[in-house]
């Protein structure tokens, strides 16, 4: 299986145990370690940095409260990613945006000097295409591709059926392929 469940490292388990007991310094270490991934999920779903910043904070506030219920021994990253995805979707609903409304063009990827210009162009095209998907489809695509979550894990995280997740990925990939081909056509 591609989406191998990674075992949490022993030090992470210890930090989670301490944080669940109210040790905010331990939690800060976890926030520092996981904020790039949470940020990435929020940014890819929401498409702009200001909203992503709000969702990042909200995700960790929710995680802090929910940590005593976290099942020790499970990896923390997918748990945080699913909280972030749900919080991002809630954020869009709370802002009374229509769920099908495309988000604004996503902020450009942080330029990697090593990356070729063609690759950077391709990444920008992907972000534009992903931003054009309905919000729920975006969340599925982001969790699958950004976090390597399996279809079953995404279904559980977003409260969807397994079949619905597969159909969403099928449709999203088809739509993205069309959009990317359109972008590639001069």
């Amino acid at each position: 299986m591609l989406r191998a469940v990674t075992e949490p490292r022993a030090d992470e388990t210890s930090l989670v145990t301490r944080a669940a007991g109210g040790d905010d310094a331990a939690f800060e270490t976890l926030v520092r370690a996981h904020s790039p991934r949470v940020w990435r999920v929020a940014l890819r779903i929401l498409g702009n940095e200001q909203d992503a910043g709000d969702v990042l904070q909200d995700t960790f506030l929710a995680a802090w409260r929910a940590l005593p219920r976290f099942r020790l021994g499970n990896p923390l990253a997918p748990w945080l990613a699913t909280i972030a995805a749900n919080r991002a979707l809630n954020f869009l609903r709370a802002r009374r945006r229509r769920a099908d409304e495309p988000v604004g063009e996503q902020a450009d990827p942080r330029d990697d000097p090593a990356a070729s210009s063609a690759r950077a162009d391709e990444a920008r095209a992907v972000y534009r295409a992903v931003a054009a998907l309905p919000a729920a489809h975006r969340a599925v695509v982001v969790l699958h591709y950004t976090e390597d979550l399996s279809c079953a894990a995404i279904a559980e995280a977003l409260g969807m059926s397994l079949a619905a997740v597969k159909v969403t990925l099928f449709r999203a990939r088809g739509r993205l392929r069309d959009l990317l081909e359109k972008e590639a056509t001069p």
Binding site: L2, R65, R110, A123, A125, V126
Partner: protein
Amino acid sequence: MNIRCEAVRKAVDEALNEGRTPMEVGARLPAPVQAHLEQCAPCREAAHGLLATHRALGDALRAPAEPPADAVNAVMARIRRGEAPLPEPRRSSWPALAAAAILIASCAWGMDATQAAWQPEWMALATLLADAGRALFEPLGEWWTAFADFPAPGVSATVVVLLAAAVGNWRIVGGMRRA
């Protein structure tokens, strides 16, 4: 595109759910699908297109992204101030309850109509709904008998169901608000 081709393309898409690299995806394709791809140029082209999209998505979405420098401090400041996260949105149970009310009211109407030998052109539908209604309501036993004897059970069923829906919704949403 015949059905076989459609099935092959779905199989390719299914394999994309499980594999990251083209090799991993290829290894998940059943032998008949691989054989078809070798012979069918349009399917091969479609599979290459899907694989290219798959790779582009993975490359772009997995690219690292750094949050603003003050993000961690902002989170920790809010935690140390004891701030709560935004509340989860409440989901009203009205749509499900309304659907249940319509279903039950339709069944009750069917029973009304069959009892009153209503307009014959509607009798087939009324009989179908009445049968469904009996299946739904008869387990209520004596309650059902008293209910069926009541004048215009269709109307009274609708009223009862809507009242129950209103109370149920109020309790559910109220409970969520308190949670």
